[in-house]
Amino acid sequence: MAIIEAKRLTYTYPIGEKPAFRDVNLEIKKGEFVIITGPSGCGKTTLCRCFNGLIPHFYGGRLEGEITVCGLNVREHPTYEIAQHVGMVFQNPENQLFALSVEKDVAFGLENLGVPREEIRKRVDWALKITGTYELRNRAPYELSGGQQQRVAIASVLAMNPEVIVLDEPTSFLDPIGAEQIFDVINSLNKDLGITIILVEHRLDLISKYASRVIVMQNGQIVLDGNPREVLVSEEARLIGVGIPKATLLYKILKLRGISLNGPPLSSDEACRSIMEVMSR
């Protein structure tokens, strides 16, 4: 079942001369883990803003074509309604957190919806535990490290019990260890809870192995869409300037020089295994 469906979708910002993206046809199914990548300015962030109705309701501009998210026509339903189905996590967690304690931040969305107190308690604790931030619940968000803050931002979205979570470069401000923890959390939301994940990302080294699908955008259009292995090993992806994982790149270079490993690897672990296989042949 399609959880997000776009047909001939074209969008132009109020101040824009040409569309930020045009003629996008896209179907995302429940439970998919989709990475959207492509050069800066290709329209990927703009496209994601349609998934919870920020476009057109907040940004204005001209939206043509059709988009349905969780069965709701985005044009006809306000953002607060769509936001109960689709959670958004942004690049810089500092822009998203504002309360004086982690717990209050995570409870904020539910309080606004008038959810009963006991239910809020339950859902906040659940979201804090899944993201590994339960121990931090009484701390002030601004006292936390960037990685901890981003996990709190994810918890506050998770507490709303969304079917889809959209994350726009959620690890770019984090150190590598913090980034890895975020990717682990995102993966478990997808694999353990069945939440559909849409991740906008340039750095694909650590995350590609978790994805079920990679979409590449360029100049406002979807130009590649498919299985991560096929997309990332393709010559088109390299020419567009996609940040191909080092393990996949190594496979490509060796192949050009006549050495074939078993299938393109998406991570260092996979590369290591397939090199060992060749060694023991």
Binding site: Q91, P176, G178, K246
Partner: protein, 283 residues
């Protein structure tokens, strides 16, 4: 690592530097370093390790609570930030902390005007910087209309325009796509070849593995290691202590250690050469 030859003539010297913020946070706790003229250094370490605080001491925005910072043999407490700024250009992590003009062109000419250059020179420098960072088409555009990656390039252009001897880039790769990173890398290497001292603060292990600078690893307000990229980035213990990660290529070779492969590999092309040699005959 710069060698202590007893002279204070090295470009940047930090001598047992401590810094405590007014709220009591101890950000630097005994930093000693020497960076020579023309060196290329990457400062790495976990969020909150003190990296940004450290570079703000180089352009005098912050002065040590204890200890000394010397630039070309002169203590930063004895000169104004404006004087230091001619030598030291710092590009902030978040371009929005830096940009304020109505057009990209005005932004880039601002510092030049303040330094008192004549109009002809200013125009030349602005044109040069716009070209260098591929910003020509945005000359008359407000910086705030641009994407995050473009704003970072404007911030960089406005610093390079006045041609400082030392260029410090705080997290230059954030929000940059693969192409722009590749350009940034070539650009940094070129600046360094032209004799500038380049210091980058970054988490981006893959970027550093490709640039091959001297690395200084920070942890909790101290520098815990200094050395070549190949030595530091392949040392798992150090890398873990600083919340950095091994480069992907190093992880692959770590897994292959039992097969007699070298451990200290960080570059994908070098990795391909090694594997080609070993596996070439086994097809």
């Amino acid at each position: 690592m710069p060698i202590d030859n007893g002279s204070d003539e090295q470009m940047i010297v930090m001598d047992d530097v401590y810094f405590t913020y007014p709220n009591g946070v101890e950000a630097l706790m005994g930093v000693n370093l020497k960076i020579e003229d023309g060196e290329f250094v990457a400062i790495m370490g976990q969020n909150g390790a003190g990296k940004t605080t450290l570079v703000k001491h180089i352009n005098g925005l912050l002065k040590p609570t204890k200890g000394r910072v010397l630039i070309d043999g002169v203590e930063t407490t004895k000169v104004s930030v404006a004087t230091l700024a001619r030598k030291v250009g710092l590009v902030f992590q978040n371009p929005d902390h830096q940009l304020f003009s109505e057009t990209v062109e005005e932004e880039i000419s601002f510092a030049l005007k303040n330094f008192g250059y004549d109009e002809k020179t200013i125009k030349k420098r602005v044109d040069w910087a716009l070209n260098l960072l591929d910003l020509n088409e945005y000359r008359k555009v407000s910086p705030f209309m641009l994407s995050g990656g473009e704003r970072k390039r404007v911030a960089l252009a406005s610093v390079l325009a006045w041609d400082p001897k030392i260029v410090i880039l705080d997290e230059p790769t954030i929000g940059q796509d693969y192409r722009q990173k590749e350009r940034l890398r070539q650009f940094i290497v070129q600046l360094n070849r032209q004799g500038k001292t380049v210091i980058i603060v970054t988490h981006d292990v893959e970027f550093v593995a490709e640039c091959n600078p001297t690395i200084m690893l920070m942890r909790q307000g101290r520098i815990i290691a200094t050395g070549e990229a190949r030595e530091i980035l392949t040392n798992e213990t150090l890398v873990n202590q600083a919340s950095v990660a091994l480069p992907e290529i190093t992880k692959i070779f770590k897994g292959l250690e039992d097969f007699g492969f070298p451990r200290k590999v960080i570059d994908v092309y070098e990795a391909a050469d090694i594997l080609y040699e070993r596996l070439g005959g086994q097809r």
